[in-house]
Protein backbone atom coordinates (compact mmCIF):
# COMPACT_ATOMS: atom_id res chain seq x y z
CA UNK A 1 0.00 0.00 0.00
CA UNK A 2 1.30 3.43 -0.85
CA UNK A 3 2.65 5.25 2.12
CA UNK A 4 0.12 8.06 1.91
CA UNK A 5 -2.72 5.56 2.27
CA UNK A 6 -1.05 4.04 5.29
CA UNK A 7 -0.61 7.42 6.90
CA UNK A 8 -4.17 8.34 6.10
CA UNK A 9 -5.46 5.18 7.71
CA UNK A 10 -3.29 5.73 10.76
CA UNK A 11 -4.58 9.28 11.01
CA UNK A 12 -8.17 8.10 10.82
CA UNK A 13 -7.52 5.35 13.34
CA UNK A 14 -5.91 7.76 15.77
CA UNK A 15 -8.79 10.13 15.44
CA UNK A 16 -11.29 7.35 16.04
CA UNK A 17 -9.48 6.09 19.15
CA UNK A 18 -9.21 9.59 20.55
CA UNK A 19 -12.88 10.24 19.86
CA UNK A 20 -14.02 7.07 21.58
CA UNK A 21 -11.71 7.68 24.52
CA UNK A 22 -12.90 11.27 24.89
CA UNK A 23 -16.47 10.12 24.74
CA UNK A 24 -16.01 7.57 27.48
CA UNK A 25 -14.20 10.12 29.57
CA UNK A 26 -16.94 12.72 29.47
CA UNK A 27 -19.84 10.30 29.64
CA UNK A 28 -21.81 10.94 32.80
CA UNK A 29 -21.58 7.88 35.06
CA UNK A 30 -25.27 7.92 35.88
CA UNK A 31 -26.25 7.80 32.23
CA UNK A 32 -27.63 4.50 30.88
CA UNK A 33 -28.41 3.34 34.39
CA UNK A 34 -32.12 2.90 33.79
CA UNK A 35 -32.41 3.97 30.19
CA UNK A 36 -31.17 6.54 27.73
CA UNK A 37 -30.96 9.35 30.27
CA UNK A 38 -28.97 10.60 33.20
CA UNK A 39 -30.50 8.93 36.23
CA UNK A 40 -29.03 11.59 38.52
CA UNK A 41 -31.49 13.98 36.92
CA UNK A 42 -34.37 12.16 38.60
CA UNK A 43 -32.73 12.54 41.98
CA UNK A 44 -32.04 16.21 41.35
CA UNK A 45 -35.61 16.93 40.28
CA UNK A 46 -37.12 15.02 43.20
CA UNK A 47 -34.99 16.99 45.65
CA UNK A 48 -36.50 20.42 44.88
CA UNK A 49 -38.32 21.88 47.91
CA UNK A 50 -42.07 22.41 47.66
CA UNK A 51 -43.36 26.00 47.67
CA UNK A 52 -46.94 25.27 48.65
CA UNK A 53 -47.04 23.60 52.06
CA UNK A 54 -50.72 22.73 52.44
CA UNK A 55 -53.34 23.45 55.13
CA UNK A 56 -51.90 20.93 57.57
CA UNK A 57 -48.77 23.04 57.64
CA UNK A 58 -50.81 26.17 58.43
CA UNK A 59 -52.82 24.37 61.09
CA UNK A 60 -49.79 23.96 63.31
CA UNK A 61 -49.88 27.65 64.25
CA UNK A 62 -53.30 28.80 63.03
CA UNK A 63 -55.39 26.06 64.63
CA UNK A 64 -58.47 28.12 65.39
CA UNK A 65 -58.56 29.66 61.95
CA UNK A 66 -58.12 26.19 60.53
CA UNK A 67 -61.06 24.86 62.50
CA UNK A 68 -63.23 27.77 61.43
CA UNK A 69 -62.22 27.10 57.85
CA UNK A 70 -62.85 23.36 57.78
CA UNK A 71 -66.32 23.91 59.19
CA UNK A 72 -67.32 26.39 56.51
CA UNK A 73 -68.19 26.24 52.83
CA UNK A 74 -64.72 27.34 51.75
CA UNK A 75 -63.14 24.15 53.08
CA UNK A 76 -62.01 23.27 49.52
CA UNK A 77 -60.28 26.61 49.07
CA UNK A 78 -56.91 26.03 50.59
CA UNK A 79 -55.17 28.73 52.59
CA UNK A 80 -52.43 29.35 50.06
CA UNK A 81 -54.86 29.98 47.24
CA UNK A 82 -55.58 33.40 48.70
CA UNK A 83 -52.51 33.98 50.84
CA UNK A 84 -49.90 32.75 48.40
CA UNK A 85 -47.44 29.90 48.76
CA UNK A 86 -46.16 29.45 52.30
CA UNK A 87 -42.62 28.64 51.18
CA UNK A 88 -40.49 29.20 54.28
CA UNK A 89 -43.15 31.06 56.26
CA UNK A 90 -42.89 32.03 59.09
CA UNK A 91 -39.12 32.25 58.66
CA UNK A 92 -39.37 34.66 55.75
CA UNK A 93 -42.08 36.89 57.16
CA UNK A 94 -45.87 37.02 57.24
CA UNK A 95 -47.98 36.04 54.27
CA UNK A 96 -49.95 38.81 52.60
CA UNK A 97 -53.62 39.33 53.31
CA UNK A 98 -55.41 40.20 50.11
CA UNK A 99 -56.49 43.83 50.25
CA UNK A 100 -58.52 44.01 47.07
CA UNK A 101 -61.05 41.31 47.83
CA UNK A 102 -63.26 42.41 44.96
CA UNK A 103 -60.45 41.50 42.59
CA UNK A 104 -59.61 38.26 44.36
CA UNK A 105 -63.02 36.82 45.17
CA UNK A 106 -64.48 37.58 41.78
CA UNK A 107 -61.83 35.41 40.18
CA UNK A 108 -64.00 32.51 41.28
CA UNK A 109 -67.30 34.12 41.99
CA UNK A 110 -67.91 36.63 39.23
CA UNK A 111 -70.99 35.54 37.36
CA UNK A 112 -70.00 34.28 33.94
CA UNK A 113 -72.33 32.51 31.57
CA UNK A 114 -69.38 30.18 30.95
CA UNK A 115 -69.26 28.89 34.50
CA UNK A 116 -71.20 25.83 35.68
CA UNK A 117 -74.57 27.03 36.92
CA UNK A 118 -74.19 25.11 40.20
CA UNK A 119 -71.25 27.26 41.21
CA UNK A 120 -72.12 30.27 43.45
CA UNK A 121 -71.69 33.38 41.31
CA UNK A 122 -72.56 37.03 41.73
CA UNK A 123 -72.89 40.06 39.54
CA UNK A 124 -70.64 42.43 41.46
CA UNK A 125 -72.58 45.62 40.80
CA UNK A 126 -75.77 44.04 42.10
CA UNK A 127 -74.49 42.10 45.06
CA UNK A 128 -75.88 42.13 47.68
CA UNK A 129 -78.01 44.95 46.30
CA UNK A 130 -77.53 47.21 43.31
CA UNK A 131 -74.74 49.62 44.03
CA UNK A 132 -72.10 51.54 42.23
CA UNK A 133 -68.68 52.07 43.68
CA UNK A 134 -66.62 49.38 45.32
CA UNK A 135 -68.08 47.30 48.12
CA UNK A 136 -65.38 45.03 49.44
CA UNK A 137 -66.46 41.43 50.04
CA UNK A 138 -65.08 41.53 53.57
CA UNK A 139 -67.81 43.98 54.47
CA UNK A 140 -70.18 41.07 54.85
CA UNK A 141 -68.21 37.88 54.37
CA UNK A 142 -65.66 36.04 56.45
CA UNK A 143 -63.38 34.63 53.77
CA UNK A 144 -62.56 31.58 55.85
CA UNK A 145 -66.20 30.72 56.30
CA UNK A 146 -68.05 33.03 53.94
CA UNK A 147 -71.62 31.88 54.22
CA UNK A 148 -73.52 34.83 55.65
CA UNK A 149 -75.10 34.13 59.00
CA UNK A 150 -72.53 31.49 59.78
CA UNK A 151 -69.34 32.69 61.26
CA UNK A 152 -68.99 36.34 62.16
CA UNK A 153 -67.16 38.58 59.82
CA UNK A 154 -63.59 39.57 60.31
CA UNK A 155 -63.02 42.65 62.35
CA UNK A 156 -61.19 45.58 60.85
CA UNK A 157 -57.88 44.70 62.37
CA UNK A 158 -58.33 40.98 61.59
CA UNK A 159 -58.84 41.84 57.97
CA UNK A 160 -55.60 43.73 57.73
CA UNK A 161 -53.22 42.61 60.31
CA UNK A 162 -53.58 41.03 63.70
CA UNK A 163 -53.46 37.42 64.79
CA UNK A 164 -56.63 35.45 64.94
CA UNK A 165 -59.11 36.02 67.72
CA UNK A 166 -62.10 33.79 67.77
CA UNK A 167 -65.47 35.43 68.03
CA UNK A 168 -68.68 33.78 68.66
CA UNK A 169 -72.04 35.25 67.84
CA UNK A 170 -74.40 35.52 70.73
CA UNK A 171 -77.32 33.18 70.32
CA UNK A 172 -80.51 35.22 70.11
CA UNK A 173 -84.00 33.67 70.11
CA UNK A 174 -86.14 35.17 67.39
CA UNK A 175 -89.62 34.65 66.02
CA UNK A 176 -89.81 33.58 62.39
CA UNK A 177 -91.02 37.03 61.40
CA UNK A 178 -88.09 38.69 63.14
CA UNK A 179 -85.71 36.20 61.56
CA UNK A 180 -86.98 37.23 58.18
CA UNK A 181 -86.85 40.95 58.97
CA UNK A 182 -83.35 40.93 60.42
CA UNK A 183 -81.77 38.74 57.77
CA UNK A 184 -80.57 41.69 55.69
CA UNK A 185 -79.27 43.42 58.80
CA UNK A 186 -77.25 40.61 60.32
CA UNK A 187 -74.36 40.48 57.83
CA UNK A 188 -73.27 44.02 58.60
CA UNK A 189 -74.63 44.68 62.05
CA UNK A 190 -74.17 41.22 63.50
CA UNK A 191 -76.84 38.90 64.90
CA UNK A 192 -76.41 40.62 68.24
CA UNK A 193 -76.43 44.04 66.65
CA UNK A 194 -73.12 44.81 68.23
CA UNK A 195 -70.63 44.55 65.40
CA UNK A 196 -69.33 48.03 65.05
CA UNK A 197 -66.15 47.48 63.10
CA UNK A 198 -67.78 48.00 59.75
CA UNK A 199 -71.16 49.42 60.59
CA UNK A 200 -73.17 51.13 63.24
CA UNK A 201 -73.83 49.31 66.48
CA UNK A 202 -77.55 48.95 66.91
CA UNK A 203 -77.83 47.01 70.13
CA UNK A 204 -79.23 49.01 72.97
CA UNK A 205 -79.78 52.05 70.84
CA UNK A 206 -82.70 54.41 71.46
CA UNK A 207 -85.79 52.96 69.83
CA UNK A 208 -87.15 56.21 68.35
CA UNK A 209 -83.78 57.11 66.96
CA UNK A 210 -83.44 53.75 65.30
CA UNK A 211 -86.94 54.04 63.80
CA UNK A 212 -86.29 57.54 62.51
CA UNK A 213 -83.05 56.44 60.84
CA UNK A 214 -84.85 53.62 59.10
CA UNK A 215 -87.50 56.04 57.85
CA UNK A 216 -84.89 58.46 56.55
CA UNK A 217 -83.09 55.70 54.70
CA UNK A 218 -86.33 54.47 53.26
CA UNK A 219 -87.33 57.90 52.02
CA UNK A 220 -83.89 58.66 50.70
CA UNK A 221 -83.30 61.59 53.02
CA UNK A 222 -80.21 59.77 54.14
CA UNK A 223 -78.16 58.39 51.25
CA UNK A 224 -76.49 54.99 51.61
CA UNK A 225 -76.88 52.58 48.74
CA UNK A 226 -77.24 49.44 50.86
CA UNK A 227 -79.41 51.00 53.54
CA UNK A 228 -81.64 52.62 50.90
CA UNK A 229 -82.01 49.28 49.21
CA UNK A 230 -82.76 47.17 52.28
CA UNK A 231 -85.20 49.67 53.78
CA UNK A 232 -87.20 50.30 50.65
CA UNK A 233 -89.53 47.27 51.07
CA UNK A 234 -90.15 47.96 54.77
CA UNK A 235 -93.62 48.90 56.02
CA UNK A 236 -94.13 51.24 58.96
CA UNK A 237 -94.92 48.23 61.13
CA UNK A 238 -91.68 46.57 60.02
CA UNK A 239 -89.71 49.63 61.00
CA UNK A 240 -91.35 49.81 64.41
CA UNK A 241 -90.66 46.14 65.08
CA UNK A 242 -87.05 46.36 63.98
CA UNK A 243 -86.40 49.39 66.10
CA UNK A 244 -88.02 47.65 69.07
CA UNK A 245 -85.92 44.55 68.50
CA UNK A 246 -82.55 46.21 68.31
CA UNK A 247 -83.28 48.59 71.14
CA UNK A 248 -83.97 45.58 73.33
CA UNK A 249 -80.68 43.85 72.62
CA UNK A 250 -78.11 44.02 75.38
CA UNK A 251 -74.93 45.99 75.41
CA UNK A 252 -73.31 48.51 73.12
CA UNK A 253 -70.83 48.05 70.38
CA UNK A 254 -68.16 45.33 70.74
CA UNK A 255 -64.60 46.49 71.53
Amino acid sequence: MPVHIVRLLLLLATFLILAVAARNYVLDPSYYRFGDYRSDAVIEIAADPPQFRGPAYCQACHAERHTEWTAGVHRNVKCEVCHGAAREHPADGPLPKPDDTIKLCTVCHEAMPTRPATHPQIVVAEHPVPHDGPLQCLTCHNPHSPKVGGQPRLTADQATNAPVAAETAAAVQLSPRMVELTTPCTPCHGADGRNSAMSAALAGGERDMLARKLQEYRSGALQHSIMNAVTSPLTDEDIADLAEHYASLPGGPTQ
Binding site: V3, H4, V26, D36
Partner: protein, 393 residues
Protein backbone atom coordinates in the same frame (compact mmCIF):
# COMPACT_ATOMS: atom_id res chain seq x y z
CA UNK B 1 -30.78 36.07 26.26
CA UNK B 2 -33.43 38.13 24.61
CA UNK B 3 -36.73 36.33 24.34
CA UNK B 4 -38.01 36.08 20.83
CA UNK B 5 -40.92 38.37 20.22
CA UNK B 6 -44.21 36.61 20.65
CA UNK B 7 -45.97 35.96 17.39
CA UNK B 8 -49.28 37.68 16.66
CA UNK B 9 -52.08 35.22 16.01
CA UNK B 10 -55.65 34.87 14.83
CA UNK B 11 -58.15 32.29 15.98
CA UNK B 12 -57.05 30.02 18.80
CA UNK B 13 -53.51 28.74 19.27
CA UNK B 14 -51.98 27.01 22.26
CA UNK B 15 -50.45 29.56 24.65
CA UNK B 16 -47.01 28.03 24.26
CA UNK B 17 -47.14 28.33 20.49
CA UNK B 18 -46.92 32.10 20.52
CA UNK B 19 -43.16 31.82 20.72
CA UNK B 20 -42.18 30.25 17.41
CA UNK B 21 -39.39 27.75 18.17
CA UNK B 22 -37.68 27.14 14.81
CA UNK B 23 -36.70 30.36 13.16
CA UNK B 24 -34.93 31.78 10.13
CA UNK B 25 -31.76 29.86 10.93
CA UNK B 26 -33.61 26.59 10.91
CA UNK B 27 -34.93 27.44 7.45
CA UNK B 28 -31.39 28.22 6.31
CA UNK B 29 -30.00 24.96 7.64
CA UNK B 30 -31.80 22.60 5.22
CA UNK B 31 -31.01 25.05 2.47
CA UNK B 32 -27.31 24.66 3.19
CA UNK B 33 -27.42 20.89 3.46
CA UNK B 34 -29.39 20.91 0.23
CA UNK B 35 -26.64 22.85 -1.50
CA UNK B 36 -24.14 20.33 -0.13
CA UNK B 37 -26.10 17.41 -1.51
CA UNK B 38 -26.79 19.07 -4.82
CA UNK B 39 -23.23 20.22 -5.44
CA UNK B 40 -21.98 16.78 -4.52
CA UNK B 41 -24.37 15.27 -7.02
CA UNK B 42 -22.95 17.48 -9.75
CA UNK B 43 -19.47 16.39 -8.77
CA UNK B 44 -20.52 12.74 -8.72
CA UNK B 45 -21.79 12.92 -12.27
CA UNK B 46 -18.14 12.88 -13.18
CA UNK B 47 -16.44 11.17 -10.26
CA UNK B 48 -18.94 8.36 -9.76
CA UNK B 49 -20.78 8.04 -13.02
CA UNK B 50 -17.76 8.78 -15.12
CA UNK B 51 -19.46 11.34 -17.32
CA UNK B 52 -16.63 13.22 -18.99
CA UNK B 53 -18.94 16.01 -19.93
CA UNK B 54 -19.00 17.24 -16.35
CA UNK B 55 -15.29 17.06 -15.74
CA UNK B 56 -14.77 20.83 -16.03
CA UNK B 57 -17.05 21.55 -13.10
CA UNK B 58 -16.52 18.44 -11.01
CA UNK B 59 -13.70 19.59 -8.74
CA UNK B 60 -15.19 23.02 -8.29
CA UNK B 61 -18.52 21.46 -7.33
CA UNK B 62 -16.73 19.31 -4.79
CA UNK B 63 -15.14 22.34 -3.17
CA UNK B 64 -18.52 24.07 -3.17
CA UNK B 65 -20.03 21.09 -1.40
CA UNK B 66 -17.23 21.11 1.16
CA UNK B 67 -17.50 24.86 1.80
CA UNK B 68 -21.20 24.61 2.47
CA UNK B 69 -20.77 21.49 4.59
CA UNK B 70 -18.25 23.15 6.89
CA UNK B 71 -20.84 25.80 7.73
CA UNK B 72 -23.83 23.49 8.01
CA UNK B 73 -23.51 23.18 11.81
CA UNK B 74 -23.33 26.96 12.24
CA UNK B 75 -27.06 27.79 12.04
CA UNK B 76 -27.77 24.92 14.40
CA UNK B 77 -25.17 26.05 16.91
CA UNK B 78 -26.56 29.58 16.78
CA UNK B 79 -30.04 28.28 17.45
CA UNK B 80 -29.34 25.89 20.31
CA UNK B 81 -30.11 26.97 23.85
CA UNK B 82 -26.88 25.31 24.95
CA UNK B 83 -24.47 25.11 22.04
CA UNK B 84 -21.70 24.07 24.40
CA UNK B 85 -23.62 20.86 25.04
CA UNK B 86 -24.08 20.09 21.34
CA UNK B 87 -21.66 17.17 21.56
CA UNK B 88 -24.09 15.41 23.90
CA UNK B 89 -25.76 14.23 20.73
CA UNK B 90 -22.62 12.31 19.88
CA UNK B 91 -21.66 11.29 23.38
CA UNK B 92 -25.06 9.81 24.18
CA UNK B 93 -26.98 9.74 20.92
CA UNK B 94 -30.59 8.82 21.53
CA UNK B 95 -30.98 6.35 18.74
CA UNK B 96 -34.69 6.90 18.22
CA UNK B 97 -34.08 10.54 17.37
CA UNK B 98 -33.48 11.70 13.83
CA UNK B 99 -31.36 14.54 15.17
CA UNK B 100 -29.04 12.12 16.91
CA UNK B 101 -28.50 10.30 13.67
CA UNK B 102 -27.65 13.66 12.13
CA UNK B 103 -24.63 13.96 14.39
CA UNK B 104 -23.19 10.80 12.92
CA UNK B 105 -24.36 11.36 9.38
CA UNK B 106 -22.84 14.82 9.40
CA UNK B 107 -19.56 13.72 10.96
CA UNK B 108 -19.34 10.83 8.54
CA UNK B 109 -20.16 13.03 5.61
CA UNK B 110 -17.72 15.78 6.51
CA UNK B 111 -15.08 13.11 6.74
CA UNK B 112 -16.12 11.67 3.41
CA UNK B 113 -16.02 15.06 1.72
CA UNK B 114 -12.64 15.85 3.20
CA UNK B 115 -11.30 12.50 2.07
CA UNK B 116 -12.70 12.88 -1.40
CA UNK B 117 -11.25 16.37 -1.74
CA UNK B 118 -7.98 15.05 -0.41
CA UNK B 119 -7.81 12.39 -3.07
CA UNK B 120 -9.02 14.62 -5.87
CA UNK B 121 -6.47 17.31 -5.14
CA UNK B 122 -3.63 15.11 -3.94
CA UNK B 123 -1.61 15.09 -7.12
CA UNK B 124 -1.93 18.84 -7.50
CA UNK B 125 -0.99 19.34 -3.86
CA UNK B 126 2.09 17.21 -4.25
CA UNK B 127 3.11 19.36 -7.21
CA UNK B 128 2.46 22.51 -5.24
CA UNK B 129 4.40 21.23 -2.27
CA UNK B 130 7.35 20.79 -4.50
CA UNK B 131 7.06 24.15 -6.19
CA UNK B 132 6.33 26.45 -3.23
CA UNK B 133 8.44 27.68 -0.37
CA UNK B 134 8.22 28.66 3.25
CA UNK B 135 4.93 28.45 5.10
CA UNK B 136 2.94 27.46 2.04
CA UNK B 137 5.30 24.60 1.37
CA UNK B 138 4.94 23.38 4.92
CA UNK B 139 1.19 23.61 4.51
CA UNK B 140 1.08 21.56 1.34
CA UNK B 141 3.53 19.04 2.75
CA UNK B 142 1.29 18.53 5.74
CA UNK B 143 -1.81 18.29 3.59
CA UNK B 144 -0.20 15.55 1.49
CA UNK B 145 0.86 13.77 4.69
CA UNK B 146 4.46 14.28 3.70
CA UNK B 147 4.18 11.91 0.80
CA UNK B 148 5.15 12.81 -2.74
CA UNK B 149 4.22 9.54 -4.34
CA UNK B 150 2.41 10.19 -7.58
CA UNK B 151 3.44 7.01 -9.33
CA UNK B 152 1.00 5.14 -11.49
CA UNK B 153 0.40 2.66 -8.70
CA UNK B 154 -0.35 5.34 -6.16
CA UNK B 155 -2.71 7.04 -8.56
CA UNK B 156 -4.45 3.72 -9.11
CA UNK B 157 -5.11 3.53 -5.38
CA UNK B 158 -6.28 7.09 -5.45
CA UNK B 159 -8.68 6.36 -8.26
CA UNK B 160 -10.19 3.38 -6.48
CA UNK B 161 -10.58 5.27 -3.23
CA UNK B 162 -12.11 8.18 -5.09
CA UNK B 163 -14.59 5.95 -6.81
CA UNK B 164 -15.53 4.26 -3.55
CA UNK B 165 -15.93 7.59 -1.79
CA UNK B 166 -17.96 9.05 -4.61
CA UNK B 167 -20.27 6.06 -4.62
CA UNK B 168 -20.68 6.00 -0.85
CA UNK B 169 -21.03 9.74 -0.94
CA UNK B 170 -24.20 9.67 -2.97
CA UNK B 171 -26.33 7.94 -0.34
CA UNK B 172 -24.27 9.84 2.22
CA UNK B 173 -25.12 13.24 0.81
CA UNK B 174 -28.72 12.38 0.20
CA UNK B 175 -29.04 10.67 3.53
CA UNK B 176 -27.66 13.76 5.17
CA UNK B 177 -30.21 15.93 3.51
CA UNK B 178 -32.98 13.39 3.30
CA UNK B 179 -32.99 12.98 7.03
CA UNK B 180 -33.86 16.69 7.29
CA UNK B 181 -36.96 15.96 5.29
CA UNK B 182 -37.52 12.96 7.51
CA UNK B 183 -37.37 15.14 10.61
CA UNK B 184 -40.33 17.10 9.32
CA UNK B 185 -42.13 14.31 7.52
CA UNK B 186 -42.11 11.93 10.47
CA UNK B 187 -43.76 14.31 12.93
CA UNK B 188 -47.41 13.65 13.57
CA UNK B 189 -47.88 16.88 15.48
CA UNK B 190 -48.11 19.14 12.44
CA UNK B 191 -50.36 18.48 9.49
CA UNK B 192 -48.26 20.64 7.20
CA UNK B 193 -45.15 18.58 7.88
CA UNK B 194 -46.26 15.03 8.40
CA UNK B 195 -46.00 13.48 4.97
CA UNK B 196 -44.30 10.38 3.64
CA UNK B 197 -43.19 12.37 0.60
CA UNK B 198 -41.33 14.98 2.61
CA UNK B 199 -37.84 13.38 2.51
CA UNK B 200 -38.17 12.80 -1.23
CA UNK B 201 -39.28 16.35 -1.89
CA UNK B 202 -36.40 17.65 0.17
CA UNK B 203 -33.85 15.54 -1.64
CA UNK B 204 -35.00 16.50 -5.10
CA UNK B 205 -35.22 20.18 -4.30
CA UNK B 206 -31.77 19.90 -2.76
CA UNK B 207 -30.37 18.48 -5.98
CA UNK B 208 -31.78 21.28 -8.07
CA UNK B 209 -30.55 23.93 -5.66
CA UNK B 210 -27.03 22.47 -5.73
CA UNK B 211 -27.06 22.22 -9.49
CA UNK B 212 -28.31 25.75 -9.86
CA UNK B 213 -25.60 26.95 -7.51
CA UNK B 214 -22.93 25.12 -9.48
CA UNK B 215 -24.17 26.68 -12.68
CA UNK B 216 -24.13 30.17 -11.23
CA UNK B 217 -20.72 29.75 -9.61
CA UNK B 218 -19.24 28.12 -12.68
CA UNK B 219 -20.32 30.98 -14.92
CA UNK B 220 -19.27 33.53 -12.32
CA UNK B 221 -15.84 31.95 -11.92
CA UNK B 222 -15.34 31.79 -15.67
CA UNK B 223 -16.21 35.46 -16.00
CA UNK B 224 -13.93 36.47 -13.14
CA UNK B 225 -11.06 34.40 -14.44
CA UNK B 226 -11.82 35.41 -18.03
CA UNK B 227 -11.75 31.90 -19.40
CA UNK B 228 -14.02 30.23 -21.88
CA UNK B 229 -17.04 28.38 -20.58
CA UNK B 230 -17.25 24.75 -21.57
CA UNK B 231 -20.62 24.73 -23.27
CA UNK B 232 -21.00 21.01 -23.32
CA UNK B 233 -20.60 21.00 -19.57
CA UNK B 234 -22.94 23.92 -19.08
CA UNK B 235 -25.57 22.47 -21.33
CA UNK B 236 -25.23 19.15 -19.55
CA UNK B 237 -25.90 20.86 -16.26
CA UNK B 238 -28.83 22.68 -17.83
CA UNK B 239 -30.37 19.42 -18.99
CA UNK B 240 -29.89 17.80 -15.62
CA UNK B 241 -31.30 20.80 -13.82
CA UNK B 242 -34.26 20.92 -16.17
CA UNK B 243 -35.08 17.26 -15.74
CA UNK B 244 -34.76 17.32 -11.96
CA UNK B 245 -36.77 20.54 -11.79
CA UNK B 246 -39.73 19.07 -13.55
CA UNK B 247 -39.65 16.07 -11.30
CA UNK B 248 -39.30 18.25 -8.19
CA UNK B 249 -42.24 20.37 -9.19
CA UNK B 250 -44.28 17.25 -9.73
CA UNK B 251 -43.35 15.90 -6.30
CA UNK B 252 -44.14 19.15 -4.54
CA UNK B 253 -47.47 19.38 -6.31
CA UNK B 254 -48.20 15.76 -5.42
CA UNK B 255 -47.46 16.38 -1.79
CA UNK B 256 -49.77 19.35 -1.63
CA UNK B 257 -52.47 17.53 -3.58
CA UNK B 258 -52.20 14.60 -1.19
CA UNK B 259 -52.78 16.87 1.77
CA UNK B 260 -55.80 18.53 0.22
CA UNK B 261 -57.25 15.29 -1.07
CA UNK B 262 -57.06 13.51 2.26
CA UNK B 263 -58.97 16.42 3.72
CA UNK B 264 -58.32 15.49 7.33
CA UNK B 265 -59.65 17.44 10.27
CA UNK B 266 -58.26 20.93 10.19
CA UNK B 267 -58.03 21.10 6.41
CA UNK B 268 -60.23 24.22 6.36
CA UNK B 269 -57.63 26.05 8.34
CA UNK B 270 -54.84 24.79 6.08
CA UNK B 271 -56.74 26.00 3.03
CA UNK B 272 -57.42 29.33 4.69
CA UNK B 273 -53.69 29.62 5.28
CA UNK B 274 -52.79 28.56 1.75
CA UNK B 275 -55.24 30.98 0.19
CA UNK B 276 -54.21 33.74 2.56
CA UNK B 277 -50.74 34.41 3.95
CA UNK B 278 -49.13 31.58 2.01
CA UNK B 279 -50.53 32.29 -1.41
CA UNK B 280 -47.93 34.70 -2.70
CA UNK B 281 -45.03 32.93 -1.01
CA UNK B 282 -45.93 29.54 -2.36
CA UNK B 283 -47.86 29.83 -5.58
CA UNK B 284 -46.47 33.04 -6.98
CA UNK B 285 -42.89 32.96 -5.77
CA UNK B 286 -42.04 29.30 -5.19
CA UNK B 287 -44.11 27.64 -7.91
CA UNK B 288 -44.63 30.48 -10.33
CA UNK B 289 -41.42 32.47 -10.54
CA UNK B 290 -39.33 29.77 -8.96
CA UNK B 291 -40.34 26.68 -10.87
CA UNK B 292 -42.61 27.25 -13.84
CA UNK B 293 -40.69 30.24 -15.12
CA UNK B 294 -37.23 28.65 -15.10
CA UNK B 295 -38.65 25.45 -16.57
CA UNK B 296 -40.23 27.56 -19.24
CA UNK B 297 -37.06 29.48 -19.96
CA UNK B 298 -34.89 26.40 -20.22
CA UNK B 299 -37.51 24.52 -22.26
CA UNK B 300 -37.67 27.43 -24.68
CA UNK B 301 -33.90 27.60 -24.95
CA UNK B 302 -33.63 23.90 -25.61
CA UNK B 303 -36.45 23.94 -28.12
CA UNK B 304 -34.92 26.87 -29.99
CA UNK B 305 -31.38 25.51 -29.60
CA UNK B 306 -30.23 28.75 -28.05
CA UNK B 307 -26.49 29.04 -27.80
CA UNK B 308 -23.78 31.40 -26.71
CA UNK B 309 -24.33 34.36 -24.48
CA UNK B 310 -28.12 34.20 -24.65
CA UNK B 311 -28.02 30.66 -23.39
CA UNK B 312 -25.72 31.54 -20.54
CA UNK B 313 -27.86 34.49 -19.49
CA UNK B 314 -31.06 32.52 -19.67
CA UNK B 315 -29.56 29.66 -17.72
CA UNK B 316 -28.10 31.88 -15.01
CA UNK B 317 -31.39 33.69 -14.58
CA UNK B 318 -33.19 30.37 -14.33
CA UNK B 319 -30.67 29.11 -11.82
CA UNK B 320 -31.00 32.19 -9.65
CA UNK B 321 -34.77 31.75 -9.72
CA UNK B 322 -34.35 28.13 -8.70
CA UNK B 323 -32.08 29.11 -5.82
CA UNK B 324 -34.67 31.58 -4.65
CA UNK B 325 -37.51 29.11 -5.00
CA UNK B 326 -35.75 26.37 -3.08
CA UNK B 327 -35.11 28.81 -0.25
CA UNK B 328 -38.75 29.76 -0.39
CA UNK B 329 -39.68 26.10 -0.20
CA UNK B 330 -37.56 25.66 2.94
CA UNK B 331 -39.15 28.78 4.41
CA UNK B 332 -42.66 27.70 3.52
CA UNK B 333 -42.15 24.29 5.07
CA UNK B 334 -40.27 25.25 8.23
CA UNK B 335 -41.92 28.54 9.04
CA UNK B 336 -45.21 27.75 7.36
CA UNK B 337 -45.62 24.63 9.42
CA UNK B 338 -45.28 26.61 12.60
CA UNK B 339 -47.64 29.32 11.46
CA UNK B 340 -50.42 26.75 11.37
CA UNK B 341 -51.37 26.08 14.95
CA UNK B 342 -51.46 22.57 16.39
CA UNK B 343 -54.98 23.35 17.51
CA UNK B 344 -55.97 23.56 13.83
CA UNK B 345 -58.03 26.55 14.91
CA UNK B 346 -55.60 29.41 14.50
CA UNK B 347 -52.73 30.93 12.56
CA UNK B 348 -49.61 32.74 13.71
CA UNK B 349 -47.26 35.09 11.92
CA UNK B 350 -43.51 34.84 12.15
CA UNK B 351 -41.49 37.97 11.59
CA UNK B 352 -37.75 37.45 11.92
CA UNK B 353 -35.90 40.03 13.97
CA UNK B 354 -33.08 41.97 12.35
CA UNK B 355 -30.51 41.59 15.11
CA UNK B 356 -29.68 38.86 17.52
CA UNK B 357 -28.37 35.34 17.22
CA UNK B 358 -31.33 34.27 15.14
CA UNK B 359 -31.94 37.44 13.20
CA UNK B 360 -31.74 38.40 9.56
CA UNK B 361 -28.21 39.72 9.82
CA UNK B 362 -27.06 36.48 11.37
CA UNK B 363 -28.78 34.61 8.57
CA UNK B 364 -27.02 36.68 5.94
CA UNK B 365 -23.69 36.02 7.64
CA UNK B 366 -24.36 32.29 7.71
CA UNK B 367 -25.25 32.27 4.01
CA UNK B 368 -22.22 34.35 3.04
CA UNK B 369 -19.61 32.44 5.01
CA UNK B 370 -19.50 29.32 2.77
CA UNK B 371 -18.68 31.48 -0.26
CA UNK B 372 -15.86 33.20 1.53
CA UNK B 373 -14.50 29.80 2.44
CA UNK B 374 -14.98 28.63 -1.13
CA UNK B 375 -12.97 31.56 -2.39
CA UNK B 376 -10.17 30.67 0.05
CA UNK B 377 -10.26 27.02 -0.94
CA UNK B 378 -10.08 27.84 -4.63
CA UNK B 379 -6.96 29.84 -3.89
CA UNK B 380 -5.33 27.05 -1.92
CA UNK B 381 -6.59 24.19 -4.06
CA UNK B 382 -7.37 25.58 -7.49
CA UNK B 383 -9.83 23.28 -9.22
CA UNK B 384 -9.41 25.13 -12.47
CA UNK B 385 -7.08 22.69 -14.16
CA UNK B 386 -10.16 21.01 -15.52
CA UNK B 387 -12.19 24.02 -16.37
CA UNK B 388 -10.91 24.87 -19.78
CA UNK B 389 -10.95 22.05 -22.33
CA UNK B 390 -7.20 22.38 -22.67
CA UNK B 391 -6.51 21.75 -18.99
CA UNK B 392 -6.04 18.25 -17.67
CA UNK B 393 -4.80 16.50 -14.57
Amino acid sequence: MIMLESAPFTGYVYPNETIIPWTLLIAIYPYLTGLVAGAFTVSSLHHAFGMERFKPVARFALLTSLSCMIFVPLPLILHLGHPERAMNAMITPHLSSAFAMFGFFAAFYVLLLLLECWFVFRADNVARAQSSTGLLRAFYRAVTLWSDDVSAKAREYDRKWLLALAIIGIPGAHGLHGYVGFVYGSLKSREWWGSDLMPVVFIFSAVISGMALCIVLYVFAAKVRRVRIDFACLKGMAYTLWGFMMFTLLLEALEFANLVYKGREGIELVMEYVRGPLFVRMFVVQFGFGALLPIGIISAMIARDTRGKAFVVGLVISSLLVLMSVFMMRWNVVIGGQEISKTMKGLLTYIPPLYGRQGILAGIAVMTAPFLLLWLLTRLFPPWGDMSPEGSK
